[in-house]
């Protein structure tokens, strides 16, 4: 029986690795201090959920979720192209608030705060992926494909250019490179994977509402990247395991029910603080964000 719970955790971890590794491309490699990533996650989830409710096959909704998120990624970079550092962070944070607000109020499309219940499980070539075991295999196959693609992007000449934008944008401009193009491409790639993760998330949970994609989740993905180490491929993967699993392991502690909620959160933050005190750049960090 315990397998079911562990498989559930592996599904969550798989989805979050896609989400956070995508985030790491914009935040870590291209140095875009983006706090709007969770909106891409939500755009993918809502696109895929609404399309599947209309009877569109899963894979079309899945890919469209990624593509629409990527289009919004372009607009986000375009509208914030003059901003840097803290200002960019604030503007992108605003983007995720706007997203939540639209999802809350565009009731004819999203049912507003009522959320979308009963999202069907995906069906692949006529086979419906139903049990936790099947979904876990499904998510991890998609994860491996995504990780391979992201790895190739990061190691390509374009990947080097992204890192150059992060480390010395002016220097790159002097060499005649179009840094704006590099930035929006990086953000679009990042948003695309965020959207894919959102689609997998919506079909797994079967219920989404606007609050699923709000402040707490932004903090969660940012924490994973920072704990893993900014611009570290394996760090992000390992940190996802740590950050998702710690609160779940804390469920196993027999804490009296009266202090159960708060004491788990205290322990959770304590562990995060300890990691950051001993490893200020994260577990595998090699760069500092300014």
């Amino acid at each position: 029986m315990i397998e079911n719970y562990l498989m559930h955790l592996m599904i969550l971890i798989g989805i979050y690795i896609i989400l956070v590794q995508g985030y790491n491309i914009a935040l870590g490699y291209a140095g875009l201090l983006n706090l709007g990533h969770i909106a891409f996650f939500g755009i993918g989830a809502y696109t895929s959920a609404i399309l599947s409710k209309m009877g569109v096959p899963f894979f079309i909704g899945f890919i469209l979720g990624g593509i629409i998120a990527a289009i919004f990624g372009y607009f986000l970079v375009y509208s914030t192209r003059k901003l840097k550092g803290d200002y960019l962070a604030l503007a992108t944070l605003g983007f995720s608030f706007v997203f939540t607000s639209i999802m809350l109020n565009w009731k004819s499309l999203t049912r507003g705060p009522l959320g979308i219940p009963g999202i069907m499980k995906p069906s692949v070539f006529g086979v419906i992926i139903k049990s936790n075991f099947e979904y876990m295999i499904f998510v991890w196959i998609i994860l491996l494909v995504c990780l391979y693609i992201m790895w190739r992007i990061i190691k390509s000449p374009f990947g080097r250019l992204m890192e150059a934008v992060r480390d010395d944008e002016t220097g790159l401009k002097v060499l005649g490179k179009n840094t704006f193009a590099i930035k929006y491409k990086a953000m679009m790639i990042s948003a695309f994977f965020g959207g894919l993760a959102g689609s997998l998330f919506a079909h797994y949970l079967s219920y989404i509402d606007p609050n699923t994609f709000y402040l707490m989740e932004i903090i969660l993905v940012l924490t994973i990247v920072i704990i893993g180490g900014v611009a570290s491929f394996k760090g992000t993967i390992i940190a996802t395991f740590i950050i998702i699993l710690i609160p779940e392991f804390l469920r196993l502690l027999s804490i009296p029910s009266s202090i159960l909620g708060p004491s788990r959160q205290i322990l959770y933050s304590l562990i995060l603080l300890i990691i950051l005190i001993y490893k200020p750049r994260g577990i595998f960090g090699r760069v500092d964000l300014t």
Partner: protein, 360 residues
């Protein structure tokens, strides 16, 4: 790196040391029942109040072979799914009391159904719950019923032009929809219906619109005390001469204490706060009055206890028996229809001299 490994292994040891393996102490007759609700985050007070109610209800049921396993869902879909998976596969619960917030309940229900574990919610009032599967029950009536009840109350008091101020969340939107439809059906007119964010404390823009629309009664649908108090004060401030009606979230001493005389004459529709016997039992055990939905928590566990008394021991059997259960609960008479809903009863309270008085 070494230090991290040391810290992590110490932590792991701590977890393993504290975890109680269920194989060693389990008796054959014990039936585990999960409690799924928010115990951290901004809805934690509901989780706490319902948990107390459940403990009172469990004692009253007279069964001593039920063991409660409490798990935190934070009122969030993802957390609720994690929690329900843990309750079912790790603790092996046969039934669950919960979830508390409709969002978490809707996300957890398919997993409970897949594993044949019935869920009895004490407080999820979303109309969507009705169609969310065979294994999902609730002892609290759907918002669909309270909206209809509220509409009739306003109409019977002789008001025909209603303005609605509702909080923009699943609860408020669902309530407002049913209220407006029913009020129109009765022959009244909803002249304005304005949404506000859940915790918003400046509703002057919305109230101005209601005033311009010429309403003679205002219905405040809110689960946030701050927001409701602000609404009543600002209605006075902007000079509206209207009758005030409120959803159950407005019934509490925190409202009368803070709103002062602006709350005078406010009508509140509310699900039952519990019978006098329940209130006394709660006072004896916790030395405090029951909080919101505590009586419903007690009824949820008692419904499960009744199903067990009818001879069920596995989740599927408990589910089958729940459809047969019929008893006089702490919050009203409990009998599930084919969707797992109860019809439920409401009470009306009115504020007189700064205190809630039950209205006949």
């Amino acid at each position: 790196m070494k230090k991290i490994i040391v810290i992590l292994s110490v932590f792991l040891l701590m977890v393993l040391g504290c975890a109680t393996p269920d194989t060693t102490t389990q008796e054959t007759t014990t039936i585990k029942v999960g409690v799924l609700g928010p115990f951290s985050g901004d809805a934690a007070s509901y989780g706490e109040s319902i948990k107390n109610g459940i403990e009172v209800g469990l004692e009253a049921s007279g069964l001593d072979n039920i063991e409660l396993v409490i798990e935190d869902s934070k009122c969030d879909g993802k957390e609720a799914v994690s929690a329900v998976n843990k309750l079912i596969s790790l603790d092996g619960v046969q039934a669950i009391v919960g979830g508390v917030c409709s969002g978490g309940t809707l996300a957890a229900a398919p997993i409970a159904e897949q594993n044949q574990v019935p869920m009895v919610s004490p407080s999820s009032t979303s109309p969507d719950i009705t169609d969310a599967g065979d294994y999902l029950f609730r002892v609290v009536p759907s918002d669909a019923f309270q909206g209809a009840f509220g509409a009739k109350l306003v109409y019977d008091k002789g008001y025909r032009k209603l303005g609605v101020l509702y909080s923009n969340e699943d609860y408020g939107v669902g309530f407002n929809k049913v209220l407006s439809e029913n009020f129109a059906e009765l022959g009244g007119e909803v002249v304005a219906s304005e949404a506000h964010e859940r915790t918003s404390v400046d509703l002057r823009a919305q109230i101005t619109k209601v005033k311009e629309a010429g309403a003679d009664a205002v219905y405040i649908i809110s689960n946030s005390a701050d927001s409701a108090v602000a609404a009543m004060k600002q209605i006075k401030e902007l000079g509206l001469e209207v009758a005030l009606f409120g959803s159950e979230g407005l019934k509490g001493d925190v409202i009368t204490d803070n709103a002062g005389d602006t709350a005078e004459g406010l009508f509140v529709t509310s699900v039952s706060g519990g019978t006098q016997a329940f209130i006394d039992a709660h006072n004896a055990k916790f030395e405090s009055n029951p909080g919101p939905f505590a009586a419903q928590g007690a009824d949820a566990i008692q419904a499960i206890a009744w199903a067990i008394k009818l001879g069920a021991s596995t989740g599927a059997e408990i589910k089958d028996n729940l459809y047969k259960v019929e008893f006089e609960g702490d919050s009203g008479s409990i009998k599930f229809d084919e969707n797992g809903d109860v019809f439920g009863s409401y009470e009306v309270f009115v504020v007189k001299d700064g205190a809630f008085v039950a209205e006949e």
